[in-house]
Each structure stands twice: as structure tokens, then as C-alpha cells.
């Protein structure tokens, strides 16, 4: 492997001739497999595209997302307005691009929140068991007993409609998914010999959890997190659509859909482009998530 050559000590002959020492971590192995995975790369490409346009949005656009032009209402896509304009004469392209910021932002923070809280609870429940497990698992059961979007609506209704509260709601409803996943992984990983060996050298519980159990349990979380990102984007759009998420004039995709409901026949572009944006984002995360699952699932390895 020529890529490893620089890390080899110069002038030291390899004692085991023939068997070249590879300094490959399992993680890097997986990364390479992922790069070979076609649909994961397509998904990754889509996500990367959205991330980039979200980052450089202001540089890209001649119009602001809330720049109202009463003379140019509901115009069809043209060279001036690539995606046309909405009923306030706002440039839909600008709004969709800014919308990417909102959707990715909500998805990222909501899912990160659920992963952190869910994983911590799952770790504790799985590792310590007993009454801690009972309390945490029943809590998950209660959360899962409600249809998730209904629960999200209830939470937002309680906190008051805003983008931030929608994000909290999405984070809360996704906690049990990650918590249960982590708990089940921990239950099996804690039986591993290296955990026993770690205890046998006198390691304390918290360190075993962080050093041995967590790193060996987090791959399904990563897969679920990527798939969950797609769900979070959809949920944010759904909450936006029913007016509980982003508030005007924020260019949230779901909100844009519901605002242009009345023009679906006369000006279909007002719905088409935000809809496509939602679809592609969700598709991107789903493809990437499926790819990650394939790569990390040992049964899929050749």
C-alpha cells in the first residue's frame, strides 16, 4: 500500500517479511467501502449539494428571500426568476435556497439532540439494567405509544408555534428510537470479553462505558441518525405546513407548500420547487443511510 509508505519508519526492515503491515482502522475500511457504494454516493452528493447551496446562499442570489415585488406576482419560471415567483412576487429560487438552510439546520440540531439524549439514556439503561432500565424503557414506551407527528403537534401546541419549538418537538419524538437502539446494542456489547477484560484490569464503569461500549455501539446509531435526518426534515415540513413550525416570512419548505396551496392550478411552480427540494433532501439522506447500513452490516460484507 503506497499510501501507507510515509508512516513506515525509515530504515527499519519489517520483521515479518511478506505480510505488509497495514495501518487500517476498521473505520477507514468502512469509509472506503462507503466510497465504493454507488447509491450512498449519489445520496451523499445530493446532501453535499444542499449543504453547499445552504452555505453560500447569499452569494448566489440576486434577490433576498423576503424581497417583495408586487409587480412580479406569480410569474412563471424565467431567466430572471429561475423558479418563478410567489404571490408576493418573491423569488422562489431564493426562498428554496434559504429554505435549505432552515431544513438542514432543523434536521441537524433535532437529530443531534435526539442522538445525544437517546444514546445516553440507552447506555445507562442497557449497561446498568435494574430500576434505571425499567424507568428509562417505560419512558420510551410511553413516548412511542403516541403517533409521532401527533406527539410533535401536542408538544408544539404546548410550547407555542415557532421553528425552534418544532425542532425541540422533533428532537423529543425521536429520542426513543435512538434510545432503544443504543440499549439493545449495549446489552450485547457488554457481554463481550473485552468488556470483562477491561473490568479485570480495574477500569471503572464510566470509563468502560465511554471507551469500550460506546465506540462499539455507535454504528447503528449513525445509520439510524442519517435515516432519521430525512424523517426530521419531513416532520419539520409537516409542522410548517400546518402552521406550527416556521412562521412567516421564514422560507421554510413545508410552509411554502401550504402558502401556495391556492395556486396549485394557476401557478404550479409555487408548489413544485419546494416540493422537489423536500423530496431530494429526503431521498439523499435515505440513500446515504441505506448505504451506511449496507457498509456497517457485517452480513453484507463479501
Amino acid at each position: 500500500m503506497s499510501t501507507n509508505a510515509p508512516t513506515m519508519p525509515v530504515g527499519e526492515p519489517e520483521p515479518t517479511a511478506g505480510t505488509e503491515v497495514e495501518r487500517e482502522s476498521p473505520f477507514r475500511d468502512s469509509l472506503r467501502a462507503l466510497l465504493r457504494h454507488r447509491s450512498a454516493m449519489i445520496g451523499g452528493g445530493i446532501i453535499l449539494f444542499f449543504i453547499i447551496i445552504a452555505l453560500i446562499a447569499p452569494l448566489l442570489l440576486p434577490y433576498g428571500y423576503n424581497q417583495i415585488d408586487a409587480d412580479a406576482r406569480l410569474q412563471a419560471p424565467s431567466a430572471d426568476h429561475w423558479f418563478g415567483t410567489d404571490d408576493f412576487g418573491r423569488d422562489i429560487f431564493a426562498r428554496v435556497v434559504y429554505g435549505a438552510r432552515i431544513s438542514l439546520w432543523v434536521g441537524f440540531f433535532a437529530i443531534t439532540g435526539s442522538i445525544v439524549i437517546g444514546s445516553l439514556l440507552g447506555l445507562v439503561a442497557g449497561y446498568y439494567g435494574g430500576w434505571r432500565d425499567t424507568i428509562i424503557s417505560r419512558m420510551f414506551d410511553i413516548l412511542l405509544a403516541f403517533p409521532s407527528i401527533l406527539l410533535a403537534i401536542a408538544i408544539v401546541a404546548m410550547l407555542g408555534p415557532s421553528l425552534q419549538n418544532a425542532m425541540y418537538a422533533i428532537a423529543i419524538i425521536n429520542i426513543p428510537t435512538f434510545g432503544r437502539l443504543m440499549r439493545s446494542r449495549v446489552l450485547s456489547v457488554k457481554q463481550e470479553d473485552y468488556v470483562l477484560a477491561a473490568r479485570a484490569i480495574g477500569m471503572k464503569n464510566s470509563r468502560i462505558l465511554l471507551r469500550h461500549i460506546l465506540p462499539n455501539s455507535w454504528t447503528p446509531i449513525m445509520v439510524q441518525g442519517t435515516l432519521g435526518f430525512a424523517t426530521a426534515v419531513l416532520e419539520a415540513a409537516a409542522l410548517g405546513f400546518i402552521g406550527l413550525g416556521a412562521q412567516p416570512p421564514e422560507p421554510e419548505w413545508g410552509k411554502m407548500l401550504s402558502d401556495s396551496r391556492g395556486f396549485i392550478q394557476s401557478a404550479p411552480w409555487t408548489m413544485l420547487f419546494p416540493g422537489l427540494a423536500i423530496m431530494f433532501t429526503v431521498l439523499g439522506f435515505n440513500l446515504l443511510g441505506d448505504g451506511l447500513r449496507d457498509v456497517f452490516d457485517p452480513r453484507m460484507k463479501q
Binding site: 527499519e12 519489517e14 503491515v21 487500517e24 470479553d193 473485552y194 477484560a197 477491561a198 484490569i201 465506540p215
Partner: protein, 338 residues
């Protein structure tokens, strides 16, 4: 005679289950002196591993429960230790290596990473110092090569991983090393190398070894004394020479007879009839009686005590109590000495 390092007396570890109490270890007496190699043998399920895990305090409680007896290590009663105190002893004074080298290392960290971890667990040294200690110890166990510290466990063979485990166990120079079937998962040539290594470490560092195995060949090769366990109890104990030449307990005899021999051709390999009894439903009287060809009425009715046969050789069998006179005497003796 060297001082007793580990002294287990009348130790009982029971497990509380929904279906009743499992008496996994039910009366084990065993001593390991400083610098000694002691073999602990018995069939699967006779309580060897639970005994060794109890010494490390690694039996989860509950469901496990110390139902009696004590484990004294260097004067301290280990059965009374709490979490913190355990962490100081594990890996530092008593270390352990396991049967499965393939799964005993964490797959996501490098060898160096895990060795440094083990070293810094008990020694206050910086990372650089710990790395050089790791290098040194790996050299001691004979697998050091440039770059091995950056390798992951899956890049090493089973034998090398077991050496890494031994290196990690030996790095703090424990007084006692518990080896739970350290060679069972390895092929024969590697077995010999690992046993050699352990013997050398024993000689050079004076670390006592409690060797848990079901391979009597390993015991004959390595150990000075042997403890034979059956159904959670010690049934015979003595130095290797005496025990192999003159086994007293029918179970030990059976075990010795079950070894295939290279120089003799026999049609049928001997095996002890029946199975190890279910630890939930132990037979009354001698636990081995249902499988014993010499069993008589008394064996099925009364539990035999450990009888001293001279020179530290003890056996738990009514046969040694030939005329029945020692039955009472033994009981007096145990109560008197206790």
C-alpha cells in the same frame, strides 16, 4: 513453604434465579502460595470459572451471592471489598487472562492504545512513558515489532493476541495471574509457546499463577499443585506428582483415565458415565455418587468431608475412610481446627 498469597476457604457463590438457587460454587478450599503455579481442573460447568471470576470480583451480584466462606488475598478479605477498592486490586495485584483471545481485545482501538490504557489505569505515568513501557512489555512476551502499537486486534493472529493479553495482564507486575483456559482456543504449537511464556514470566517475575483448565496435560506440564473440582466443590487436591501417580478420588481417576494415550491402542476411549449434576438439583450425599462405580450406600446418604491423606493431599471420598473410624474423627478434626 512460601506464604499463602490467595486463600479461599469454604467459599460459596450461589445464583438466585427464577427457578431456584444455583449452587455454582459450593464449598471451595484452595490456596495459592507466592510464586506457585496451581492448576484448577474439572469438567465444564463444575464451577472453575465462577471461582476465578469471584477472586476478581467479576461475578455480577445480583444474581450472584456470596453464600459463605472467604477469599483472602495477601491478608485482605476480597468478599468484603467495594467498587473503588476492587478497581485498585484488579489489574494491579491480581490480573486475569481469558479463554478467547479473539474477542478479549476491543476491536476499535489499536494495540498501543489499549496497552497504554492498561498501564495508566494503575501507574501515574505520561503517555510517552506508558508507550515505552508497552513496547518493553511486548518485547518481553516476544511479539514486539515496529508498528505493532498502531495495529488493530484484527490484524494479529490468535496467538499474538493472547500474548498481548498476557502483556497487558503482566504490565503492572501482579502478584497473582488468573489464567482461565488461556490455551483452549489456540492450536497446539501456539499452546506450547504460550505455556512456555507463562512459565518464564512466573520464574522471572515471581507472579503466582492460578491456571484454570480442563487439559490435564497442561497441568502436568506447568503446575506444582492441582485442585480438582466437581459440581462446585473441591474433590481432591495435592501436588502434581502424587495426584497423577496416586489419584484417590474416583473422579480424578476417571479424568486421568479419559486421556487418550499415544502409545496405547485401545478400542474404546474411557469416559465417565453420566453428566455433571444440575447445580439446581444436587444429589444428596456425595455429589459424584450417581456416576461413581465404587459408590455404596453411605455415599448416597451422607456427604463426605475433605480428608487429609498426608503431604497436603486431600480427597473428598468415603473410600479413604476405609473402616469408618475417621468419619467421626474427621468431623472433630474440622471443628477443632476451624
Amino acid at each position: 513453604m512460601a506464604e499463602a498469597l490467595l486463600e479461599i476457604t469454604g467459599f460459596k457463590m450461589h445464583f438466585q434465579t427464577d427457578k431456584g438457587v444455583v449452587k455454582a460454587v459450593d464449598g471451595v478450599d484452595l490456596t495459592v502460595s507466592e510464586g506457585e503455579i496451581v492448576g484448577l481442573v474439572g469438567e465444564s460447568g463444575c464451577g472453575k470459572s465462577v471461582t476465578s471470576l469471584s477472586v476478581m470480583g467479576l461475578v455480577p451480584q445480583p444474581p450472584g451471592k456470596v453464600a459463605g466462606g472467604s477469599i483472602r488475598f495477601a491478608g485482605k478479605d476480597l468478599t468484603r471489598l467495594k467498587g473503588r477498592e476492587w478497581q485498585k486490586i484488579r489489574g494491579n495485584d491480581v490480573a486475569m487472562i481469558f479463554q478467547e483471545p479473539m474477542t478479549s481485545l476491543n476491536p476499535v482501538f489499536t494495540i498501543g492504545n489499549q496497552m497504554v490504557e492498561a498501564i495508566r489505569q494503575h501507574q501515574k505515568v505520561n503517555k510517552k512513558k506508558a508507550l515505552s513501557r508497552a513496547r518493553e512489555t511486548l518485547r518481553e512476551v516476544g511479539i514486539f515489532r515496529e508498528g505493532i502499537l498502531d495495529e488493530y486486534p484484527h490484524q494479529l493472529s490468535g496467538g499474538m493476541r493472547q500474548r498481548v493479553m498476557i502483556a497487558m495482564a503482566m504490565v503492572c507486575r501482579p502478584k497473582l495471574l488468573i489464567a482461565d483456559e488461556p490455551t483452549t482456543a489456540l492450536d497446539v504449537t501456539i499452546q506450547a509457546q504460550i505455556l512456555d511464556l507463562m512459565r518464564r514470566l512466573n520464574r522471572e517475575t515471581g507472579t503466582a499463577i492460578l491456571m484454570i483448565t480442563h487439559d490435564l496435560g497442561v497441568v502436568a506440564e506447568m503446575c506444582q499443585r492441582v485442585v480438582v473440582m466437581y459440581a462446585g466443590q473441591v474433590v481432591e487436591q495435592g501436588d502434581v506428582q502424587t495426584l497423577f501417580k496416586n489419584p484417590c478420588h474416583p473422579y480424578t481417576k476417571g479424568l486421568l483415565k479419559s486421556i487418550p494415550q499415544l502409545d496405547k491402542r485401545i478400542d474404546r476411549l474411557y469416559s465417565i458415565p453420566g453428566h455433571v449434576p444440575n447445580p439446581r438439583k444436587l444429589p444428596t450425599g456425595c455429589r459424584f455418587a450417581p456416576r461413581c462405580e465404587f459408590a455404596s450406600d453411605i455415599c448416597r446418604e451422607q456427604e463426605p468431608q475433605l480428608l487429609e491423606l498426608g503431604d497436603g493431599h486431600v480427597s473428598r471420598c468415603w473410600l479413604e475412610d476405609k473402616d469408618g473410624t475417621r468419619r467421626g474423627a474427621d468431623r472433630d478434626a474440622t471443628t477443632n481446627t476451624a
